[in-house]
Amino acid sequence: MPSPSTPSKMFQKSLVTPVAAMAVLAGLGYVIDVTANQYVQLIFLYICVNTILALSLNLVNGFTGQFSIGHAGFMAVGAYVSAWLSMHAHPMLLSGQLEFLNYILYAAAGGTFAALAGWFVGLPSLRLRGDYLAIVTLGFGEIIRVILLNTEAVGGARGMFGIPSPGDFMTKFLLATFWVMITFLTLWRLVHSVHGRAFLSVREDEIAAQAMGIDTTKVKVRAFVISSFFAGVAGSIFAHAAQYLNPSTFTFTKSVDAIIMVVLGGLGSLTGSVFAAIIVTILPEFVLRPLQEYTGVDLRMVIYSLALILFMIARPAGIFGTRELPDLFKRKAQ
């Protein structure tokens, strides 16, 4: 196709897909709103949360080739900060019909704090080889949980009750899909930009990247901070969908869920992450729960961990590899 001539036309063209996708998602939301019960509606919100989580983790683990295993910690930071804000800062902001717009602000604030945490954790560990990040993020995830457990201002071990809701399901869903779109678009444009090339070069060969004049530490920290921001946003959406937070939600298991999604979908494939996030969210509800009732033991994590090992040995690229969904159609057209 001929490329558009002026920047403004290019900008207009770049808006077509997201607007169309948003419209489709809104339609889907309406259908769920009318037909499904609250339980299923909540699952759809969790799909959005997990999609954002998986996409953001993919930036670090997939595109930049680092290994973070404490993503739940950043999610927790975002969740608690934005929940606290929505409980305490609410009267100062918009009210009435536009009230729901505040929640975008809370999510952004939660994300910002998570990004700060990411910067604090990432700066020392990303100067070194990739595996240090793993252990530091593991530690960070645990520490955040201990701090939350011991902070009375956010409910400690009892958890945080009475988090306000943005409105009915449709409002929540639109807010969630709005952030899914923002995350997806930001990351998509990012990894296809010159910055994205830098991420990929660090993944492929750090020494060669350095030789090409890339400040690898800076690039890695940048990827990590952006990733933490969106993990915080996911936490915020989770907080306002569930309207209740407990430190035990954000354990290592949650981080592993995110890793499973990224590995399953393909390290370095955004559409793969979306696909895997949907599967991994739905699977426990419709397959693993009946299995658990049948066998009497919770096999979820055993299955997940086994899947992780087997995928690494048999098909380390995951389902999508580094390909994206549109690539499949491109191949057919040839």
Binding site: V121, G130, I135, I143, V256, V302
Partner: protein
Amino acid sequence: MGADLQEFVQHVINGISLGSIYALIALGYTMVYGILQLINFAHSEVYMVGAFASYYAARFFDTKPGFATLVILLFISMTVCSILGVLIERLAYRPLRKAPKLNILITAIGVSLFLQYSAQIVFGADPKVFPTVLEDSTLVKWGEVELRSFDVAILGVGLVFMVGLHYLIHHTKIGKAMRAVSSNSTAASLMGIDINRIISTTFIIGSSLAGVGSVLVGMKYPKIDPLMGMLIGLKAFVAAVLGGIGNIYGAVLGGILMGLSEEMVVGYLSSTYRDAFAFGILILILFFRPAGLLGKASQEKV
């Protein structure tokens, strides 16, 4: 001797005793890292399985507290741990020897989780009380300072194994081969060293040291559960990094320092954040001396 000083000496004794346990586990991390450049996440689960193995062995043989029990449990735990360690290496890590580092790391996490959650199903998630290994008695009393049988046993056993490891690494043929593989595995294999055998040996030694650590921990803190490995594994890893990962003397030094500082934090500051403390140390080392206290900073070669 003043009461303050006595309290301090007591903390030092407790700290060194805790530290030698960290050191034993840290040795496993550091040895595997030295040879494969891999953080063996499953190491903390090997330790956990060791604790359960000796727990069930003690119940099965209905052991009486005493020195013989300690030796028997150490033997059983070490055997089970080394078998498990070798199995993990054979089944999960060896197929990926030539794969990217990230894939092996993900596999290591997978193995660790698999063992954790399988253990919850097999052993049950509830904590179990470890049987008495040694009679709890005060051997030396000096004012307020007590030297208990546990601490003496931990120090004694720890010392025996650390000296044994030193001998093995520096005065035997297999130790020489291990050092050769660690310094350059390609060159070592050209010299006729069977790399796979050395790697298996490393896993056997590292895992059996974790087994020793698990019995000692069970003796001093007699409560075991399937998730017990995670936190102590994290601390032992920090100890290994603190001393300089890949360096076995560094692991011992780091372990003792970690034990001492944790005991001091609990004794003089607050016990709430005792676990957060290890993390703080890790961040500080990574900032100021990433190669660790005894490690040499090395430039990556192209």
